[in-house]
């Protein structure tokens, strides 16, 4: 017969105020198999834990139930106490008498009876508990960082500087991301590229960082400490080991009218190209969709130009496999295009721009060398209108959230415009000014007070073009809804920041959860902001939600520390809450019949095929086996198995059955 110890906590008065804890201890004490039952003011305190340890030794307990707060709070505490007393920690369970009972019910007979039932339930469970051993897995001390924007750059450098190897992959031909496209940064107005480029170079030169540009993650298998990443190295068509980056091929390429991604469509580039002058690596790739040779089979001018023979026409995509112990997701964000807005012309007006396009106009490296000029006719706009919350905070457009960065960059845009166009008139239509951040509010006030930017509180109903002007139909809600009509030369929409395209597919590859807008989900909104729900995968930057540069860099460093902490261990200890397929003596071997329906049900590909072979090596049967490294313990397979051949440790069929029965049998 079992010898179970039951310990009922008063939690000060949190439990005892509505539950008659003495009666609970008394009645449970009379239960079959219960050797010892007491109540105490604070079970989690040192003396409380000592009671448990002493009882384990004194009564030779083979199971412990603590009736206290939620196991999500103190289960580790009490299990540790049991372990210290020599009892297998997994033979200790908690009945949730506080969150699920005393706090949610009034003081009454029923409340005490419910408490008794809850403890009984756990006593019945403990009777079926088996000692379990934690699972130990080795750690591969190499990190994979996905995305080479400022988040990925920062995370890579920080991890590399702790002495660990980093593999950084970037989808585009160069690292740098959105930050490299920005003109100047708020609230200091320092030049974005000036502060970013040194870091980009540092990444390229760091001995601990292996950089793959023009590369994408193909698949990720495995689990924390032991991932296997398959990476697709897209064919660059240029041999980087011989290419000197002289740029002669780019000069000669006849396909010159391709809209430049780096310039947000405002400039053009060639088919063999380096995205921007400061690119890292500063070597070209051939865009095969637009290249004459790949389209029509003739041209090859670049090959003739190249002095070192670096063009590789027949190069194919290559897939490499890297073993890593942790992954940092830093894939960034995107902004909505102007074509997203019916009321602002469906993108048909050339002088209606997104904020990102305005950045390129304002940037010294941009298509106009930093002069604000209209894309339509190259003239300098005398009147400019900025529309904040374009798409953001707009449930009807499917984006109810605030994109967070627009208030600040719109103020910056207006300020830059005023600095660059003397005598120009700028108007900002806004709903609220969200300038929470160090020196942010001061920055916005400066735009209004010193740079005379006209801030009008109201949204713009529509924009249309007439006689070369953009007619902006706005409103001033602070004047009771008075209409404001502006004949502008240029309109800049602070379009919503959205998840990067392909983020949903990437999340599915990684088994990372994501929110309804396809931003990756953090494990806890407050206490685990850089972790994901998948152990060993961390988040950095705007792939989690739109955020500005300081916040992104902070988050990236946070993720790097999490990776470094993980790498400080040689092996990881995991809870043994995993599924197990039963094994029996021959000739049965297992009750598993090998239908492998569990294989399709498993979200983690943890079900493996095990071949049972006879002495002569002939195959007797193929049955399922759970890879305990991959298994995360959801138990979906358990409920699915027809012959009950799989069970999950910690929540076995016997345990849950006993719990349910105990609640109903009285």
């Amino acid at each position: 017969m079992s010898k179970i110890g039951v310990f009922i906590c008063h939690c000060g008065e949190n439990i005892s105020a509505t539950v008659d804890v003495e009666r609970v201890a008394r009645e449970i004490g009379g239960m079959e198999g219960v050797a010892h039952a007491i109540d105490y003011k604070y079970m989690c305190s040192d003396p409380g834990q000592t009671f448990i340890k002493e009882a384990v030794k004194k009564y030779g307990l083979d199971g412990v139930v603590v009736g206290a707060c939620s196991p999500r709070m103190h289960e580790p505490t009490f299990r540790r106490a049991c372990a210290e007393a020599g009892l297998n920690p997994y033979l200790c369970e908690m009945a949730n008498l506080r969150e699920h009972c005393s706090w949610v019910h009034e003081k009454s007979e029923e409340t005490t009876e419910k408490a008794i039932d809850l403890v009984k339930m756990l006593v019945e469970k403990v009777k079926k508990d088996k000692p379990l051993e934690s699972i130990k897995v080795p750690v591969t001390k190499r990190a994979l960082v996905i995305g080479g924007g400022i988040a990925g750059i920062q995370a890579s450098l920080d991890i590399a500087n702790t002495g660990h190897k980093v593999i950084l992959i970037e989808r585009d031909p160069s690292i740098g991301g959105h930050m490299s496209q920005l003109s100047e940064t708020f609230p200091t107005l320092d030049c974005s590229q000036c502060i970013l480029t040194p870091r980009m170079v540092e990444v390229a030169q760091h001995p601990n960082i292996k950089l793959y540009t023009y590369a994408e993650l193909e698949s990720l298998e495995g689990f924390i400490g032991n991932f296997k990443a398959r990476i697709r190295l897209k064919a660059k068509s240029v041999n980087y080991s011989t290419c000197t980056g002289c740029g002669a091929c780019i000069q000669k390429c006849p396909v010159k009218k391709i809209p430049s991604e780096f310039n947000a469509g405002l400039g053009t580039r060639t088919a063999i190209y380096v995205p921007f002058p400061q690119a890292v690596p500063n070597k070209p790739v051939i865009d095969r969709v637009n290249c004459n040779y790949y389209k029509r089979g003739a041209c090859k001018i670049c090959e003739k130009t190249c002095q070192v023979g670096s063009i590789e026409w027949d190069k194919e995509d290559e897939i490499i496999t890297e073993e890593v112990g942790a992954v940092v997701l830093a894939t960034g964000f995107d902004v909505k295009g102007t074509d997203f807005f019916p009321e602002y012309g469906y993108g048909k007006y050339k002088d209606v721009l997104t904020g990102l396009q305005f950045e390129r106009l304002a940037s010294a490296s941009g298509p106009t060398f930093g002069e604000i000029r209209r894309p339509s006719d190259g003239t300098i706009p005398k009147k400019i209108v900025f529309i904040a919350c374009a798409g953001s905070r707009d449930p009807a457009k499917g984006i109810p959230y605030c994109s967070k960065i627009c208030c600040m960059y719109t103020a910056k845009h207006a300020m830059l415009y005023q600095h660059k166009v003397h005598g120009g008139e700028s108007t900002v239509f806004y709903m609220d000014i969200r300038a929470g951040g160090k020196n942010y509010e001061e920055f916005v006030r400066r735009a209004i007070e010193e740079d005379t930017v006209n801030y009008v509180r109201g949204r713009v109903a529509r924009v249309y073009e007439k006689d070369g002007k953009l007619i902006v139909k706005g409103v001033d809600t602070l004047l009771g809804g008075q209409q404001v009509e502006i004949e502008a030369d240029m309109v800049v929409l602070a379009t919503a920041g959205v998840a990067n395209c392909g983020s949903e597919q990437l999340a599915q590859k990684l088994h990372v959860s994501y929110d309804p807008y396809h931003f990756f989900a953090e494990a806890h909104p407050k206490l685990k902001p850089v972790e994901t729900n998948t152990a060993g995968i961390f988040l950095a930057g705007a792939c989690q939600a739109p955020k500005d540069i300081p916040e992104t860099v902070g988050m990236a460093s946070g993720a790097a520390v999490k990776v470094a902490a993980l790498f400080s261990n040689d092996e990881l200890v995991r809870e043994p809450i995993v599924a197990v397929v039963n094994r029996l003596a021959p000739p049965l071997y297992s009750t598993c019949v090998g239908c492998f329906m569990c294989e399709t049900a498993c979200p983690y590909n943890a079900i493996e095929h095990e071949e049972i072979k006879g002495r002569d090596g002939s195959l007797i049967r193929t049955i399922a086996r759970v890879n305990e490294g991959l298994c995360q313990g959801c138990g979906t397979c358990v409920a699915f198995c027809r012959s009950k051949s799989i069970d999950i440790q910690g929540y076995t069929n016997e345990q849950v059955y006993a719990e349910v029965m105990s609640l109903l049998n009285d």
């Binding site: 449930p395 009807a396 409103v475």
Partner: protein
């Protein structure tokens, strides 16, 4: 403060939750008649949000509700998809019911009443009858004197109403709805 039931009644009837409006003003920015209104739509929403009887009466007594053409531009652009036109319909009904009418409502109401009279008796719109009745109601005897003869010449006016058979049912429809004093309608 005494609770004002007008707002909850309004929400019940129209399904519009006034609290959802976050005062971006996009409706007022695009409203073709906002400049003629005592209160543009977004301001009207704000008055409703205050929930006071005083502000509610202000709305009923305003010309805003009568100048709304139900063109639905506001609804089409509203980020919160607030059905302002539906709200306007309701407020007009309440304005008539409580007899709190802005002078601007007179010709508009007169036109609608004449219109409905026409279809009540003839099933279809009888334009000559409509215009005659409207003029009688508004004493605007001279209005449209210039275009009516041209309309007639261009074959656009029937001197007699069109033939419609199911007059009994038409009467019943009116008796059961707009003339039914038991319902909430004016």
């Amino acid at each position: 403060m005494e609770k004002n039931h007008n707002i909850s009644d309004l929400q019940l009837h129209t399904g519009v939750e006034v609290v959802r409006c976050y005062q971006c003003g996009k409706c007022s920015a695009g409203c073709v008649l906002a400049s003629e209104m005592n209160f543009p739509p977004s301001y009207l929403m704000r008055l409703l949000q205050t929930g006071t009887k005083e502000n509610y009466d202000k709305i009923l007594l305003s010309n805003s509700i009568w100048l709304c053409l139900n063109c639905e531009n506001c609804l089409g652009r509203c980020p919160m998809e607030i059905d302002i036109p539906k709200l306007m319909d309701y407020l007009r009904t309440q304005s008539v019911k409580e007899n709190k009418l802005h002078p601007d409502s007179k010709p508009i109401l007169a036109f609608h009443r004449s219109f409905l009279d026409s279809i009540k008796y003839t099933g279809r719109l009888y334009e000559v009858g409509l215009v005659a009745a409207f003029k009688f109601r508004t004493f605007r005897l001279a209005q449209d004197m210039a275009i009516a003869p041209v309309m007639y010449l261009k074959g656009k006016l029937h001197i007699f109403p069109e033939k419609f058979n199911d007059r009994k049912r038409m009467k019943r429809i009116f008796a059961q709805t707009i003339e039914n004093t038991k319902t909430d309608n004016p």
